[in-house]
Amino acid sequence: MKNILYIFLLSTQIFFAQNGFEKGNAFYQKGNYEQAVAAYESVLKTNSHSAELYFNLGNSYYKLNKVAPAIYNYEKALVLNPEDSETLNNLKFAQKRTIDEIKEVPKVGFAKLIQNYTDIFHYNTWAWISVGLSTVFLAFFLGYYFSQLAFSKRMFFIGMFVALLLFVICVLAAISGKSNYVNEKPAIVFAEMATLKSEPQNSSSEVFVLHEGTKVFVLETLSHWKKIQLTDGTEGWIEKDAIKEVK
């Protein structure tokens, strides 16, 4: 009885959330962007989300000319759905409204090569592939074990080791992908102006000034300071309140 009640409560919640999403869409279409934002935010309060929801929220903020929240929501959408072309497109529009123009310095080296490779799939996809490969390995083993012909036995044996090798690669890719996902902490500057300091002290010298909407990566946290890295590789300390982490 209790379980049924919970299921009922959960389903109504999702129903209301869906309702909020559609309400937001209606407001957006009428050009009522502020109310659209309120409707979308109410969905987020029910502890449910989706890439599309973040995308629409980012669009609403973009229309309201609020650059930092727009970019923040686009980035959140990209966390859930990294390959979405519409989100990437609108993110570029929003980035054109930011004040800072920071070059993206491409990372090079072996580590980057590995990361590129692991980024082909999400780590959960890698996990599924590894499950599939372990099953293939079993099938090959059975084939090898029970086949009578020397030729097919040999082929199954080779196939078995190829599957095992691929399986190990997939598991390693999933592990590395997950650690990349956990270690990469993007954040968006929300403060209109924030100074980047060389040390986590108020008196320390200024590296330069960041404006809202700039994407940074959090490296470390120390009391109310965060060590961040810009996309061009510059590092510095910024006050915690000035930025908002995406993940």
Binding site: I14, A17, Q18, F21, N25, Y28, V43, N47, S48, H49, S50, A51, E52, L53, F55, N56, N59, S60, Y62, N65, V67, E86, N89, N90, K92, F93, Q95, K96, R97, T98, I99, D100, E101, Y123, N124, W126, A127, W128, S130, V131, S134, T135, F137, L138, F141, L142, Y145, F146, V171, A174, K178, E192, H211
Partner: protein, 584 residues
């Protein structure tokens, strides 16, 4: 011993006889308005006196030469002196260089003397001085408009020279220009000196304004304005008159200085100081005006940031506009139209930024804030401009900009299809709780499952092979199975007498084969009986078994009722189960 003493005395005598030539000064430290006497003394009658160059001094009198010779106790002493009176022209450490004379073909020089000249000092009144009348009749006054201003509040210093009606001034020159350390200063040019009338110390005087300066203090605390010193040629009337009855005037020289002034500058209050305060003090108006807001691609616009009003116009920075990076902003053109009057600077300063949009779209320039300290109310005030929206009507869109830069060879690929995408209408909401497949128990289970199955498969196969290779055991098992099979067949054929007995017989034969490990060929009644008995079977049951097999053969051809068939079947089941229990 005595002789040595005499020798020593004689050598000293010889030293006495040496030529002495030295310079003596009346003082080594003096004020700018004081005089200095220098004497070059020698004890021989030297010739060709070369005077040093008195750099930084003016020779007021001299050289005057005096010679004196005296005999005291039969010893003659000679002295020849060249004297000069000098007046310093400038402040600081001055050097009087070497003077030289020639005596008996040898050149003698004095050692150089260092003189320290300080600022003008007030001289005590000397009642016998000829300048007494000038002292009472000529004054230099520095008027400071405010002695405790704020930082960057304008103050003015006006130097006035008061002189009474009975003296005349022919010329003046500045000896010491006032220095305004820690002030921003601007002189207001005076084109022509005009003598005016004014009251000073309760008497009527004429005065000229020599110099007007506007000062903006740049530092808080006590600041000193160094005095202005003037050398003035004055005409002083004497009591004598010439043959026409006119007063004879004498030319005189008078130095006046205004005295140092101390100004205590107040710092601006910290309370309520805006963060972006850049030091503007006064009363201002702030404006940000774009030349146009609707632009086509490639067109430029000007954004003029201007501050007008009264205050320290040249001493603060204008706020810089921040624009989105889609707008390219160039360095500003600075323009100043500032007049400086006695009341301070006023006018307008502006920065004109040229902005060229790069991409199509609407872009906004953030509101700008300008803060200043209002002197009349003593508070900070902030003026904010409005947000400016710039509408770029055409041009490349933002999205393909990055495509263009990454495209080969700088070719700017322009596609008009890229545009800001509309919202998505469908979604599938899911919980925010992280739900990772990788690392979950399900994942580990699915991954490990095939590997756990491997040994199981191996074990099963091994077992099967062991079973297959056991021929003897297999045969028993097979016979056992056949016995059961025929028995169940017999049960099914219970209504068909002939088939029933065939099945029953086969079942019993197979049972024997399984239990006694014998072949069909060895199956004779005696043999069976012996074997069964040797395996600890009960003799009665063995006998039952034999009779039942015989019965089977008979019953196939003899008529029998269905109850007999049922009895035979039950009996067979009972015998088989009994034999099973008893046999080892």
């Amino acid at each position: 011993m005595k002789r040595y003493l005499i020798l020593v005395l004689l050598t000293f005598h010889g030293l006495w006889a040496q030529v002495q030539f030295e310079a003596k000064v009346s003082k080594t430290t003096l004020g700018l308005n004081e005089r200095l006497r220098i004497d070059f003394m020698m004890n021989v009658d030297g010739d060709n006196f070369i005077q040093p160059s008195f750099d930084g001094f003016r020779i007021v009198a001299g050289p005057s030469q005096s010679v004196s010779q005296s005999w005291i106790n039969g010893r003659s002493s000679f002295e020849k002196v060249y004297s000069y009176f000098l007046l310093p022209n400038q402040k600081g450490a001055l050097m009087i260089r070497q003077a030289a004379i020639e005596y008996n073909g040898q050149i003698y020089k004095t050692s150089p003397i260092k003189i320290n000249v300080t600022a003008a000092i007030e001289q005590p009144k000397d009642p016998n001085d000829s300048q007494i009348s000038a002292d009472d009749n000529i004054f230099l006054v520095a008027d400071v408009s405010k002695v405790n201003p704020y930082i960057n509040e304008p103050i003015t210093v006006v130097y006035k020279l008061y002189f009474s009606y009975n003296i005349g001034i022919t010329n003046w020159n500045e000896l010491n220009k006032p220095k305004y350390n820690d002030f921003w200063s601007q002189n207001i040019d005076i084109k022509q000196l005009v003598a005016e009338e004014g009251m000073f110390k309760g008497e009527k005087y004429r005065y000229v304004v020599l110099r007007k300066t506007v000062l903006y203090p740049q530092k808080s605390g006590k600041l000193v304005i160094e005095p202005l010193s003037l050398d003035i040629n004055v005409q002083l009337p004497t009591n004598r008159r010439d043959m026409f009855g006119r007063v004879i005037v004498t030319e005189g020289n008078k130095r006046v200085s205004a005295g140092a002034k101390t100004i205590s500058v107040k710092a601006l209050p910290e309370a309520g100081k805006p963060e972006d305060f850049s030091g503007a003090v006064g009363n201002f108006d702030f404006k940000v005006t774009p030349s146009k807001t609707n632009l086509k691609n490639g067109e430029s616009m000007d954004l003029v940031v201007s501050v007008s009003g009264k205050g320290n116009m040249k001493l603060f920075d204008l706020p810089k506009p921040v624009v989105p990076n889609a707008l390219e902003m160039y360095d500003p053109v600075h323009d100043e139209k500032v007049n400086t009057s006695l009341s301070g600077m006023s006018g307008r300063i502006s920065d004109s930024y040229t902005i060229i949009p790069q991409y199509k779209g609407n872009y906004s320039i953030k509101p700008m804030h300008f803060s200043y300290f209002d002197l009349s109310s003593g508070t900070y005030k902030t003026i904010s401009s409005k947000e400016i929206t710039i509408n770029v009507l055409d041009g490349p869109t933002a999205a393909d900009a990055t495509v263009a830069t990454t495209a080969e060879g700088g070719k700017n690929r322009i596609s008009s299809t890229e545009q800001f995408k509309f919202i998505k209408l469908d979604t599938e909401l899911h919980s925010m709780e992280p739900n990772d497949f990788f690392g979950s128990n399900l994942y580990y289970g699915l991954v490990c499952f095939p590997f756990l199955i491997l040994p199981l498969v191996v074990i099963l196969k091994k077992k099967k092979e062991a079973i297959d290779s056991d021929v003897y055991g297999n045969r028993i098992k097979m016979n056992n199975r056949l016995a059961k099979k025929y028995l169940s067949q017999a049960k099914m054929q219970i209504n068909n007498k002939e088939l029933f007995y065939v099945a029953l017989e086969k079942a019993m034969h197979n049972f024997l084969k399984a239990k006694l490990h014998i072949e069909t060929s060895e199956m004779s009644k005696d043999n069976i009986q012996d074997l069964l008995l040797s395996r600890n079977a009960n003799a009665e049951i063995v006998k039952d078994f034999i009779t039942l097999t015989e019965n089977c053969e008979l019953a196939r051809y003899a008529p029998s009722s269905s109850t007999a068939i049922q009895q035979d079947f039950d009996k067979a089941v009972m015998i088989i189960s009994d034999l099973e229990k008893q046999m080892v």
